[in-house]
């Protein structure tokens, strides 16, 4: 059924149609409506789930880990400082091999106090082993929650479904909430091989010496590498059932492009309009959207970027002391390739600074005009 809903509610409805069984969450701007709607859905029994009220995000993820360990499908949502507080327990979900799905509204980190979007909160979780999906529309938010459960439960690792504060979280648009029967067909109940069960006691995450820990880490990497195939397969299967296909990356007018623009989240959505206009002006430019950041789609990046003339990456984030994080990852994926293109790493839109079509066109035109990237970090729109 088509509805006009905000991105936050797309997350809640995504959890509902995934038939989550336990939700533990703590409200934080700009995520609050996710929790509000989920608690309503639980209260009026549209969703048969246990809603656990907690006193912090750390406890929210801890409760999700516990519930996941006994075999429940679990969901939580947070943002910025809340995600940072959850950090320890995200490591727990990964190490405990617990497929919790977490919605994160990208909000810049304070201080100074802020509620607007950038990606530093979720990218600070880069090395935990939690999968990261960056959505560009409310429809994709809802669809990705369902796919994230399907992928996570096969590889036993948690997933993060990420959307921009305000640009999606508080923007209402048409979302097709799919038929429950069809979703049930796509996403079978969570049925893990090992669960916490007092009748058959096991220890999870107990002390493990150097003899075993190393191999457990190897297994996590093996699983997350395998998720690349799974994400593409489940995204394709989703397309067959629901008419909307997804993958690790999305190509837009890329075939004959000499210059490739790379972006994520809502900037990638706005960038489509910029690409249309630039192509009309006769410029050979195309767009590559990175939808999944962990696992990083290195193979796709190599296949799509080798032999291109130039690459411009837009980062709405900054790793202080080094630069834009997507740009770093793309450079690292290409390093051992022959005929790799030079990469211009632009930073923009930090702290929710608006990114317009004109802004993106300027970035592409600057890339066309310059012979080589003058600096590792190319700041756009800083007013000093």
């Amino acid at each position: 059924m088509k509805q006009v809903i905000m991105g936050n509610h797309a997350l809640s409805f995504g959890a509902m149609i995934s038939r989550v069984q336990v939700i533990a969450a703590y409200p934080i701007t700009p995520q609050t409506q996710v929790v509000e709607l989920l608690s309503e859905l639980c209260a009026d029994k549209r969703l048969d789930a246990e809603f656990i009220k907690v006193e912090s995000e750390h406890s929210a993820m801890a409760a999700c880990c516990g519930a996941s360990a006994v075999g429940a499908r679990t969901f939580t949502a947070t943002s910025a400082q809340g995600l940072a507080l959850m950090h320890e327990m995200i490591h727990w979900a990964v190490g405990g091999r617990l497929p919790v799905v977490l919605g994160n509204i990208n909000r810049a980190m304070g201080p100074p106090w802020t509620i607007w979007t950038d990606q530093n909160d979720s990218l600070s979780q880069r090395d935990t082993g939690c999968l990261q999906f960056y959505a560009q529309s409310n429809q994709e938010v809802l669809d990705t929650v369902v796919q994230a459960f399907k992928v996570s439960e096969q590889i036993l690792l948690p997933s993060m479904v990420i959307l921009d504060a305000f640009a999606l979280s508080h923007t209402s648009e048409v979302v097709d909430v799919p038929d429950q029967k069809l979703v049930d067909e796509y996403l079978p109940p969570f049925n893990p091989r090992y669960i916490l069960d007092p009748k058959e006691p096991h220890t999870f995450g107990g002390l493990t010496g150097p003899d075993g820990y190393y191999e457990l880490r190897y297994k996590i990497e093996e699983a997350i590498q395998d998720s690349k195939r799974l994400i593409n397969e489940t995204g394709k299967e989703f397309g067959e059932l629901f008419g909307r296909e997804y993958g690790l990356v999305e190509k837009y007018k890329l075939d004959d492009a000499e210059i490739v623009l790379i972006a994520s989240s809502t900037i990638a959505s706005t960038a489509r309009v910029a690409i249309d206009e630039l192509q009309e002006e006769g410029k050979k430019v195309g767009l590559l959207r990175v939808r999944v950041f962990r696992p990083f789609p290195s193979e796709e990046i190599r296949e799509l970027l080798v032999n291109r003339k130039k690459v411009a990456v837009i980062d709405r984030n900054i790793s202080f002391g080094h630069g834009g994080i997507f740009a770093q990852e793309i450079k690292s994926a290409l390093y051992n390739c022959k005929d790799k293109p030079p990469i211009w790493g632009y930073i923009t839109g930090i702290g929710g600074r608006d990114v317009t079509v004109e802004h993106i066109k300027e970035i592409v035109n600057d890339t066309i005009k310059s012979e080589k990237p003058e600096q590792d970090i190319l700041w756009k729109g800083v007013k000093l």
Binding site: K2, V4, T29, I115, W116, Q136, D164, A165, F166, A167, L168, H170, T171, S172, E173, V174, T266, I267, S269, T270, R272, V273, G352, D354, V355, T356, V357, H359
Partner: protein, 186 residues
Amino acid sequence: MIEIRVHGRGGQGAVVASKALAIAVASEGRYVQSFPEFGVERRGAPVYAFTRIDDKEIYVRSKIYNPDHVVVLDPTLIEAIDVTEGLHKGGWILINTTKKPGDFQEFCKDFRVATVDAYNIAIKYKLGPKASPIVNTAILGAFSKISGVVSLDVLLKGIKEIVPIKPEENAQAATEAYNSVNFKEE
């Protein structure tokens, strides 16, 4: 693509007006975006809400800087802020006021001006408290008439879907505003 900016004061229902319009338009199979000014709202302070409408999927996700039309829920905002900022030449500016379009000479040069007494219509249908009636649904009726962006029938469906109480009264208020809006026919 049509871009609309709604001006109100916090608590007047600018966001609901923007969303009711979006729901109505979406029910016809068109694409919409409805969003508030990104940030925090305070009761009584000037607030904004935005609607984008198109026949094809909308990809642009920046804010709206050059609206095609502007709707003003509170006439005192005209003194406080520039409600026509960025407004396209020839675009509609619809104001909730007892005054007539000709009283807004400063806008008549570049824009099409329409006025509607949404306060008294809202009071008549007991929408909100008498001291601060909720005018958002009435003014949408007037907007439907002048802009033709959405038909009255379709708009009423959207209004009934979103208002928390008194759906019939809200629909009647919109209809009365539709029939009583002051503007120059073209």
